[in-house]
Symmetry: C2
Subunit: 312 residues, 2 copies
């Protein structure tokens, strides 16, 4: 049997035909039309699914759809998705209807990615995992006993909006001091720019010039080259990321913490530093079970695979 995974993004809607081992056998992408009416977007998703099903060489058991926003997975309703302008849309039922009653499940995209990593990626074999993406924002997905924990009406699992610095930096959500405002790539870039102003002699200036901009890589490049200001920025950033991770350890004590998003490509240099802080600061120290920190491995495929995992 095969399954369809659909990853609804702000730029494109990606679909893939997935087997039980988490291999994408066929994929297709269409451009997102954020201004299109809801019915049209649902039609595009159903048609993309139908084309993949047509080309499947085995029976298709269902369609899973991952969408950024507040998703009430149990009821199959998109409560609110800013990038496709959906509000209270019973998407699962609507798509299923267009596919002759085929099973359709929907979920928040970060939750899907977490599920994908646990089923097919770096979290394989673990039943309890917290997945965190460090990107423009900080997304999180929580897997408990092998299933996604999303909170009432899908409005939980927003660990990015956990305050770690009360009255600190302004967050997009309206609060001050959220983890997202310190641990996102956006925050890292802000910290890098501020350090560059204070230390124009830093190697960061050179790396930024080469890339044409200050990016999430700038401070890491400088730190790896031994630059003092770069090392300071990276240490401060790692500390903030780890503060939130240790909080999640103390709350969930999962088996594993999975780190995704662009910054996770810094690899062992970054992940090992986080592991060290998590080991040192988790409640109860060595008396309590150690929580491993690992980089997520599915990358862009996590969206399709995680969505498919909703129905596999």
């Amino acid at each position: 049997m095969l399954w369809v995974g659909i990853d609804v993004g702000g730029m494109s809607i990606k679909g893939g035909l997935v087997n039980a081992k988490g291999k994408i056998l066929l994929s297709e992408s269409v451009t997102t039309q954020p201004q299109a009416p809801q019915e049209e977007t649902i039609g595009v998703i159903a048609e993309l699914s139908a084309r993949l099903i047509e080309n499947a060489e085995e029976t298709v058991g269902g369609v899973g759809i991952g969408i950024p926003g507040t998703i009430d997975a149990k009821r199959g309703v998109v409560v609110y998705a800013n990038n496709i302008r959906f509000e209270n849309v019973p998407m699962a039922a609507s798509v299923s209807e267009r596919l002759g009653g085929l099973r359709v499940e929907i979920g928040n995209d970060a939750n899907c990615a977490a599920l994908g990593e646990v089923r097919f990626g770096s979290g394989k074999g673990y039943e309890n995992a917290v997945f965190v993406t460090l990107g423009t924002g900080v997304g999180s997905g929580i897997v408990l006993d092998g299933t996604v924990y999303e909170g009432r009406a899908g409005a939980g699992a927003e660990a990015g909006h956990m305050v770690i610095c009360s009255d600190g930096e302004c967050c997009t959500c309206g609060r001050k001091g959220c983890w997202e405002a310190y641990a996102s790539a956006t925050a890292l870039i802000r910290m890098t720019k501020r350090a560059l102003e204070a230390h124009p002699e830093s190697k960061m200036a050179e790396f930024a010039q080469n890339e044409g901009k200050v990016s999430g890589k700038t401070a890491f490049l400088a730190a790896r080259a031994g630059d003092t200001a770069g090392l300071e920025v990276v240490a401060a950033y790692e500390n903030y990321v780890a503060e939130g991770l240790v909080n999640l350890v103390n709350i969930f004590r999962p088996e594993i913490l999975l780190i995704g998003g662009g910054v996770s490509h810094e690899g062992a240099y970054f992940i090992d530093a986080l592991q060290k802080i998590v080991d040192a600061r988790s409640y109860g120290g060595a008396r309590n079970p150690r929580v491993e920190v690992k980089a997520a491995t599915l990358g862009n495929a996590a969206g399709i695979l995680g969505a498919a995992a909703l129905v596999i």
Copy 2:
């Protein structure tokens, strides 16, 4: 059928015979002997249970025991309990053996209290609740789908050790800036003392003198009397308590937040202020389901009732 609930505290071990409605029909208390060997303490708990069972007018279905510390409830093992000096003790099996094989379950005391409130107290009728005790420290119990979530090997649900002020006040756990270091009664007393030093003219001085000490009530008494410094302390304290509560809303989005511990006796004056901040700052605002803040109602009985709820 009846059940036995045992609440192991640092000062006393309390036991009660509980019915299915959460009424304590009979109770007894013995003094804790912290220096006693493990076998002796287990014997005391088993004997206390046996006496209650003997006096029961119905069959007793099992014994539940709540213990402060890290408890691996699934395996029935006390991983670490500082106040009775237990480390890796298979307490459930040992007590059961002494009671002729009767069913015995153990759990962390804060987790038990949470379960007690959900079954018989202010959380009755709710399946998803986060319970927080504001006492010497900040304890937390998490109930998801009607059962206690304790994390791997019982080492989760330590929301008191979630950092809300990175690099802030020192916490007993070794981290800096934990919620416990801002939201416990201990923290409130520290804040009150500091404010008294800065504002010796405050009405707090008078209230402290009447009580013979600065307590968790001092600032609240002054605030209720309109004292400016007292109002400031209470507002700051409420803000810190709410920071953690909003974090827990964004992570769990439960139906209800239950507040226990001495400070919760401030009643609506305190609870309403927390509700206001939780409503204003929770992620997604009014678009997401509202989380109600309520004072816990079982008080000291929560320990016995919650322990009994492990087996009811």
